[in-house]
Symmetry: C2
Subunit: 140 residues, 2 copies
């Protein structure tokens, strides 16, 4: 049984974290950047289903919230690199925890999510795509 270490307030910390982390691709983006995937085109490739526009929007929000930094190289063709700020890095354990929990409970989650009538097919099969991609990377 899980035992909480410190008694906490109702929602305040959660509220702040959610405010900053809410956005379909934000956790994935932070994760990607932490894995040295720092250029927009790379992220775009690794996040099938995400649009340029949406990625830009969310990256700008992350930047505005002080989680990532953007470096623009004034050259042709343009080059942009994102990196995590100190605050951004401090969030990584949380991201990792989410990632690991999702992986650890994959079978259960896939079942309940797949049964969920609200989830559309795209979302349902998203994980399969990611897994396939991971497999491809191993082969390649």
């Amino acid at each position: 049984m899980y035992e909480r270490k410190t008694p906490l307030t109702i929602d305040c910390g959660l509220h702040l974290t959610r405010e900053v982390l809410s956005g379909k691709w934000k956790p994935a983006l932070l994760n990607a950047i932490s894995m040295d995937i720092k250029r927009p085109s790379e992220m775009l490739r690794l996040l099938p289903g995400a649009t340029r526009r949406v990625l830009n929007v969310q990256l700008r929000e992350l930047e505005g919230h002080g989680l990532v930094e953007k470096k623009t190289y004034p050259q042709l063709p343009p080059k942009v690199e994102y990196s995590l700020t100190e605050v951004g890095w401090s969030l990584m354990p949380v991201i990792d925890a989410m990632n690991q929990w999702g992986d650890a409970n994959r079978s259960h989650l896939e079942t309940v999510i797949t049964q969920d009538p609200k989830i559309n097919e795209t979302s349902k099969s998203a994980c399969k795509i990611y897994r396939q991609m991971a497999a491809d990377r191993k082969i390649g």
Copy 2:
């Protein structure tokens, strides 16, 4: 500097976790239930801004995803109690991590969030409300 322990896939675990945790009040609800706040009326009181309907909807989703269990006592007035499932409990470290990160970076987050033009006043002041409530609880 934060060092990742295990190299991870791009998004799969994150994807699953987000699917299950997305919803304005879900983390707070899980947190509340873990703190033995298990009756709808209590949650309603502790989550100012949340509606009965929305709470019901999100609780039903959490239930459908196997994170919480609902026990209905067939009596008058009706009594309902929620509790975490095993899977739900396994998620608590993640919730705690989010909560603690938000608390730890409160000043920074409040600043950037308050400056964010997209955030409405309600959201901006939410944390103040929670803090006030926490203070009140200490006094009471």
